[in-house]
């Protein structure tokens, strides 16, 4: 496979590198997509079924979000390709003026369908709605994403849990993902309006990841994703994979690490040279009554918040916490009062948590541009853990790889 020569591939994005951290591998960039520019590094909230968990598109826009996810797998089942075709795509379906990214449906094979059967053809599975057999091929995935009309589309990949001990199967999955990328590129009908990203596979085996990077980079897609992670592997292993891959990827393309969303993971991954992230955790945990703050996650269903009339987070500028300027003055006590009982509690926490994630990345970007990202990292971990003894070992080790010593 190493003699592959890529066909020239059109791209529907521009990538401008705005700044580079002088210590770590962190970068700030501007990515201009068909529905407008976004600033990297970036967190993308997940609107699985064309809706961000109860928020109106207007409310999502107010958090500053300009690029969110939809899931191809879910939209393919509901409302289905035919409806999407007739309506005119997912932007139009959900009234979203900004950018969309869709995954390929490959990850849901691992996360939702334990007994999916993967062959060279594609993924064979049973519809979760009625049990009828279905086949998802690279061509079908791309066709669906073409109909959805998302600004960034992902290749179908053969996803295996990273912790799988079967090295032969892992290698097979990696090589198959490369072959499927070629099929995706060939099937892609709108390369001038939708950007196809490849997905680096290879589990936790760094040699396999290197091999995959070479093959994928040679295909010259507009952007590159690192996939197969956040599946329960040790954080130290995760960091080694990201660090290895970013070292091999071209400087002037966006790098998207799939499925990452804990604040610690985000700031470390940025230091390791990644640009884009997505995760359902902030919105899911909101529905469990949890508010993300810089001092950690608060479970507001706990009785100790019943009479706590403070904001969700002191100094937070989200619509819920903001004082004045149209802010809602939502208190912890009010969320405690409605969490798990009225969906409005989940909506309010979803707004706060999405804002927290986006604001974190805005501050990360600012720190990179002002070339004080190492200081930012130190303050971030100080706020989160107070005591250095409580810093997770993996964060300390990972940041040492890129020249930052949190213990200093």
């Amino acid at each position: 496979m190493s003699t592959f020569t890529p066909a020239p591939m059109p791209s529907a994005l521009t990538f401008e590198l705005d700044a580079r951290c002088s210590t770590t591998k962190a970068r700030a960039a501007t990515l201009t997509l068909p529905h407008g520019p976004v600033q990297l590094p970036l967190f993308m909230p997940v609107a699985t079924q064309a809706s961000l968990k109860g928020l109106t598109p207007e409310q999502l826009e107010a958090t500053g979000c300009r690029l969110c996810l939809n899931n191809t797998y879910h939209l393919g089942l509901k409302p289905g390709q035919e409806v999407l075709e007739k309506v005119g795509g997912a932007h139009k379906l959900q009234g979203w003026k900004h950018n969309l990214l869709t995954d390929s449906g490959g990850f849901q094979m691992v996360s939702l369908l334990k007994l999916a059967n993967i062959t060279e053809d594609g993924v064979r599975f049973l519809s979760p709605h009625d049990g009828s057999p279905m086949l998802l091929t690279p061509e079908h995935s791309i066709s669906l994403q073409n109909t959805i009309g998302s600004d960034i589309i992902m290749q179908l990949d053969d996803v295996l849990v990273t912790t799988s001990p079967d090295a032969a199967r892992m290698r097979e999955a990696m090589l198959r993902s490369v072959r499927w990328l070629d099929r995706c590129i060939a099937a892609h009908a709108n390369p001038t309006t939708q950007n196809l990203f490849c997905i680096i596979q290879g589990g936790l085996d760094l040699e396999m990841r290197k091999e995959c990077c070479e093959e994928m980079v040679a295909r010259n897609t507009p952007g590159i994703a690192i996939g197969g992670l956040s599946g329960g592997e040790a954080k130290a292993d995760y960091c080694k994979v990201v660090n290895t891959c970013t070292g091999l990827l071209p400087e002037l393309k966006p790098r998207y690490v799939m499925g990452i969303g804990y604040p610690e993971d985000l700031v470390v991954s940025v230091a390791l040279g990644a640009d884009m992230f997505d995760c359902v955790w902030p919105t899911r945990t909101a529905r469990f009554g949890n508010a993300i703050t810089k001092h950690g996650v608060l479970n507001l269903r706990n009785a100790k918040y019943a009479s706590d009339f403070g904001p969700l987070e002191d100094g937070c500028d989200c619509l819920c916490c903001r004082r004045g300027d149209g802010g809602l003055n939502v208190t912890r006590a009010f969320i405690n009062h409605i969490a798990g009982k009225e969906t409005v509690g989940a909506h309010l926490l979803t707004m706060h948590n999405v804002w927290y994630q986006l604001e974190l990345m805005r501050n990360v970007r600012k720190a990179i541009i002002e070339d004080r990202y190492p200081e930012f990292l130190k303050q971030f971990f100080k706020d989160l853990h107070t005591d250095k003894a409580k810093y997770p070992v993996w964060t300390v080790d990972a940041l040492r790889m890129v020249g930052v010593d949190l213990m200093e």
């Binding site: 079924q49 064309a50 809706s51 961000l52 968990k53 109860g54 928020l55 109106t56 598109p57 207007e58 409310q59 879910h74 509901k78 409302p79 035919e82 409806v83 007739k86 309506v87 379906l93 959900q94 009234g95 369908l113 334990k114 007994l115 999916a116 059967n117 064979r124 599975f125 049973l126 979760p128 709605h129 009625d130 049990g131 057999p133 019943a306 009479s307 009339f309 619509l319 004045g324 149209g326 802010g327 809602l328 003055n329 939502v330 208190t331 006590a333 009010f334 405690n336 009062h337 409605i338 009982k341 009225e342 969906t343 409005v344 509690g345 989940a346 909506h347 309010l348 707004m351």
Partner: protein, 442 residues
């Protein structure tokens, strides 16, 4: 939009005023126009409606959405939604700082009027009756009793704009002769205590009981004595309205309906009896059922959507069932020419998808739309009364629309325990489970 900050509350509540304006002499003698004003809040032209809240929120709608996309005059808040901790200590809402704890706690826009009632509407039937000093209420942790003394205490601290006096209402059961005798006496006693409170800044609405006029004759007669202290009447049964003597001071008070109208026709009937302000449970029922309300008063300006029933007469449905897959590719708004947020930004296809995918936004958009439809409905009613055409317009409406809302065909949002009482063991689930096939046959 302004959101509740601590506001100067000292002169606010007692500032409620209600002016009945002209048009009484026209058409239906009792339908009337009015304006309810409370300092610091938006004036409300009546007839109009208050949104019904659950635990202090209008279901599905965050406070910013209520402020930006809905126009109800106020919000009905049930005390029983806030005091589940009363059995083990002080309910948190009693510790909210500031002059308007109810507004502050619930993050309601300051322009909205808060109306505090002891119980939700509709209320869950309590297994134990009321006593001479207390009523049974249903909190999120179970049944409790709420004494009038405690109720007055809550009122003094929470400062709702309007408070309905505690009433001995036997929700869901038919009271016997002996009970009926007590109802008026108890309610009058409780009202007297509430009015005697020097710390209550709220405007007190006297409850009118859902029993025959002659059974509460004494109580109603005595209301005249309080007429300078009470600021409104709250009717548990709108049929008592014609019995309120038109000549007394009590007749000049604003009238609130807790009579749970089941359809717009019922609202019109109550307006023709002289009702001013409504609480309308069917808005929420329609939203949860996935029904987009679709009616105008007296009828749409364009009559293109009339459905022929086949026998020459035509009646139009009062709502559109959005679960129906016939909407799955429709880019039409929920109602033709509706200007609500849901209809101007979104379309039927999206809302059908959201319901089918059980995404919460579906119900939020329907709730916005359904509130908007009612706001428009009332605004056209006021216009009609002002023009003296109300009676004729009601007839047009009755001819044009079906009598009841469409049946629910799909599923509602997940039902939470606190607003429903189980009917005992073996009760069927409200929603169907998802498909649970055996994946092993793959």
């Amino acid at each position: 939009m302004t959101i509740s900050e601590d506001i100067e509350g000292s002169s606010r509540a007692s500032s409620l005023s209600f002016e009945i304006s002209g048009a009484i002499e026209y058409s239906t003698p009792d339908a009337r126009l009015g304006r309810l004003s409370i300092a610091g809040r938006n004036d409300i032209d009546t007839p109009n409606f208050f949104s019904i809240s659950s635990r202090g929120v209008v279901p599905h709608l965050t406070p910013d959405v209520i402020g930006e996309h809905t126009q109800p005059g106020g919000v009905h808040v049930a005390l029983e939604d806030f005091i589940e901790r009363a059995t083990i200590g002080t309910p948190p809402i009693m510790n909210v700082p500031g002059n308007a704890p109810l507004h502050t706690f619930t993050c309601l826009p300051t322009s909205f009027i808060t109306l505090l009632a002891p119980r939700r509407t509709p209320a869950v039937i309590a297994p134990i009756g009321n006593t001479n000093t207390a009523i049974s209420i249903f909190t999120s942790t179970g049944f409790q009793s709420l004494s009038n003394k405690a109720y007055v205490n809550y009122a003094e601290k929470l400062h709702p704009d309007i408070i309905i006096g505690l009433a001995d209402v036997p929700h869901g059961t038919v009271p016997g002769v002996k009970r009926i005798d007590k109802m008026g006496d108890r309610t009058e006693g409780w009202l007297t205590e509430l009015l005697a409170s020097e710390h209550t800044k709220s405007a007190v609405f006297a409850p009118i009981l859902p029993i025959e006029y002659h059974s509460q004759f004494e109580y109603l007669n005595n209301l005249d004595e309080f007429a300078d202290k009470i600021r409104g009447l709250a009717f548990y049964d709108s049929n008592l309205l014609p019995d309120i003597p038109a000549t007394t001071a009590v007749a000049q008070l604003p009238r609130l309906s807790l009579d749970e109208p089941s359809s717009p026709h019922e609202i019109l009937r109550q307006i023709s009896l002289g009702m001013d302000i409504f609480t309308i449970p069917f808005i929420g029922f329609a939203t949860d059922a996935g029904i987009a309300l679709d009616f105008q008063f007296p009828s749409p300006s364009t009559s293109s959507e009339v459905v022929s029933t086949g026998n020459g007469s035509t009646t139009k449905s009062l709502g559109v069932d959005m679960w129906s897959t016939e909407h799955s590719t429709s880019l039409d708004p929920l109602s033709v020419s509706c200007e609500c947020y849901a209809c101007t930004i979104h379309h039927r296809s999206f809302i059908q998808h959201l319901l089918s995918a059980k995404e919460m936004l579906g119900w939020a958009l329907l709730q916005i739309h359904n509130h908007y439809v009612l706001s428009k409905f009332f605004s056209f009613i006021r216009e009609s009364i002002g023009q003296g055409t109300f009676e004729a317009d009601c007839e047009t409406f009755a001819r044009y629309y079906e009598t009841e809302l469409p049946e629910k065909s799909g599923q509602g949002p997940r039902v939470r325990g606190y607003q429903f009482k189980t009917e005992g063991p073996g009760e069927r689930k409200k929603n169907q489970p998802g498909w649970r096939g055996d994946l092993e046959v793959a």
